[in-house]
């Protein structure tokens, strides 16, 4: 993301626009981080510095908040973050088989990202679909009653969406 001076300038302009919309207060920090994460799939130290400058706080404050929340941590993630629910009900419903299917299909373990930058696999604490487990989130989208077969289809649909977008 912010690798060149021009990119950094553009990023700063983007953050300033967000602050314009959300307000200059500290309470804008989490929405800003969420937006940056959604667009760039990572929050690197340069971005944290820029956000800190715009909000007039110390960059370590930005890091401290980003690293606290499961959905905001700064490490690079894939375009599609798959969060498999780990709670007891989804466990009873067979989450391990889904975990195995996803690992085999993606060729990565949990808390890892595929080399092509498309997928990150994570555990979620509870996604609130306990009556319809196993459940998982793909970014903001929820899938329920997942089977090893449909898990593969979900991954395939993400890949197809990328191909369609890139034409």
């Amino acid at each position: 993301m912010t690798t060149t001076i021009t990119d950094q300038d553009q990023f700063k302009t983007d953050v300033e626009a967000l602050v314009e919309k959300l307000g200059p207060g500290r309470s804008s920090l989490i929405p800003i981080l969420a937006d940056v994460k959604r667009r760039f799939h990572r929050i690197d130290s340069e971005s944290m510095q820029t956000i800190a400058d715009v909000l007039d706080i110390h960059p370590v404050e930005v890091y401290s908040v980003a690293s606290f929340y499961a959905f905001l941590h700064g490490a690079p993630e894939g375009q599609f973050v798959i969060r498999l629910c780990g709670t007891l009900s989804c466990d009873f419903a067979g989450k391990e088989a889904i975990a195995d299917a996803l690992k085999a299909e993606l060729g990565i373990g949990f808390d890892e990202t595929t080399d092509d930058g498309l997928f990150t696999l994570e555990w979620a604490s509870c996604v609130g679909m306990c009556d319809q487990g196993p459940a998982l989130l793909v970014n903001d989208e929820v899938h329920t009653r997942v089977t090893p077969e449909t898990a593969k289809e979900i991954v395939a649909a993400c890949r197809a969406a990328v191909v369609a977008k890139e034409g």
Binding site: S27, V65, L88, S89, G128, C130, D131
Partner: protein
């Protein structure tokens, strides 16, 4: 409506509440009478802690401040809980109605609904409902034509932290900080969001307020027990035939509940989520009520073929992950508990270590800073109590 993720269950009282009847009844009252009415209903917080709603509103109403807030806690993170998701999907208007009634009662002009990141797909629906309410004059300047009563509602997003369901952690998060609970007092009703008096209520609590104002306190008190008035939504999952969201009056026994959902023959039931207690089959005559087994409504049915230590391990994994790390009993205590469960599973837990861990659990219950740490050992301790012989007599796996 968002693409409904169909959850089964029984008929819900909310379906029968006339829209805006509660709000109109509330706005026809004086603020003091309104607070008294909610107090008289004896409604207790539906998120799990069970604090009397009318009392909370009364404290906040008594504060003198230019700005006050009503926060709806939609950070439904307790494992096994999904009734707020269903309420927000099907009855968002009732929730916003409840917030508006709260705003009028305590003198707040802004309501904020704090929605967990895992429910981001509900956000467009909620914004849509809010927009329609503004257009209908149910939010904004002079709500329902009541001179001088301005009230609006915003949606704020969580970012993936169970502890933010704790009200002071939620407020920290809204202010842009790590979701670390504050010391109390001062309580949020005195000094909450941006140091202003703030009411934090659960989604179901606010919907219940709207229902109570529509139908009256006598109607509400006709359900439940003397000490637990009204009805409650339960999120039922696990080893049963008909999981879903069910409404029952307070006081239903575990056995009767299991009959309704096709969960007879269970070995145990985890009530209240990861922070709740594990009830073994011999205690199924006990009742779900504030005076017996209090709960936010999570009921996970544990079938006869499950390993009860897997249950304990799942919850302790959860707490090791979700402890905010601020205070030592919770941060380190849960790791020790998890270690004990792992040793027990292998049949290799030294009795002295187990004794220490039990004492540690008791320490965590009193010495942790917030509800997360205080309740985190409960499941394991109740499993040790209910299944102690079976657990401690396992042969070493080697």
């Amino acid at each position: 409506m968002p693409a409904t993720i169909e959850t089964q269950g029984n008929a819900l009282t909310y379906e029968t509440i006339e829209p805006e009847a509660g709000l109109k009844a509330a706005l026809a009252m004086s603020r003091a009478d309104l607070v008294d009415t909610v107090r008289d209903s004896d409604l207790k917080g539906r998120g799990g802690a069970g604090f009397p709603t009318g009392m909370k509103w009364g404290f906040c109403a008594a504060e003198k401040a230019d700005q006050k807030y009503i926060i709806c806690n939609a950070d439904e993170g307790e494992p096994g809980t999904f009734k707020d998701r269903v309420i927000l999907t099907r009855f968002a208007d009732l929730v916003f109605e409840g917030m508006t009634i709260g705003g009028y009662a305590v003198g707040a002009s802004l309501g904020i609904i704090y929605l967990r990141a895992e429910y981001t797909y509900l956000r467009p629906h909620l914004n849509d409902v809010i927009q329609k309410r503004r257009a209908a004059g149910l939010l904004g300047h002079n709500v329902c034509g009541v001179e001088g009563f301005d009230f609006d509602i915003l949606v704020a997003m969580g970012a993936g932290a169970y502890v933010c369901g704790e009200e002071t952690a939620l407020i920290e998060s809204l202010e842009g900080f790590r979701g670390e609970p504050r010391n109390r007092p001062p309580f949020p009703v005195v000094a909450g969001l941006l140091n202003n008096p703030t009411v934090v209520n659960n989604v179901e609590t606010l919907a219940s307020v709207a229902a109570i104002m529509a139908k009256g306190t006598d109607w509400f008190k006709g359900f439940g027990t003397d000490k637990s008035t009204g009805y409650k939504l339960f999120s039922i999952s696990g080893d049963c035939e008909k999981p879903g969201v069910y409404e029952f009056p307070w006081g239903i026994t575990v056995a009767d509940l299991l009959k309704e959902v096709g969960g007879e023959g269970a070995m145990a039931v985890q009530i209240g989520g990861a922070s709740g207690v594990c009830i073994p089959a011999k205690d199924f005559a006990r009742a779900l009520a504030f005076e017996d087994i209090p709960t936010g409504g999570s009921v996970m049915v544990i079938g006869p073929d499950r390993d009860i230590l897997d249950v304990a391990e799942n919850f302790l994994d959860f707490f090791v992950e979700e402890s905010c790390g601020q205070c030592t009993p919770c941060r380190l205590g849960n790791m020790q508990m998890l270690e004990a469960v792992k040793l027990l599973k292998q049949g290799e837990c030294p009795p002295a270590f187990l004794k220490n861990v039990k004492e540690l659990g008791a320490t965590m219950q009193v010495a942790s800073k917030c509800g997360l740490g205080q309740t985190s050992p409960s499941a394991f301790l109740s499993i040790l109590e209910g299944f102690g012989d079976e657990i401690t007599n396992r042969a070493a796996s080697a």
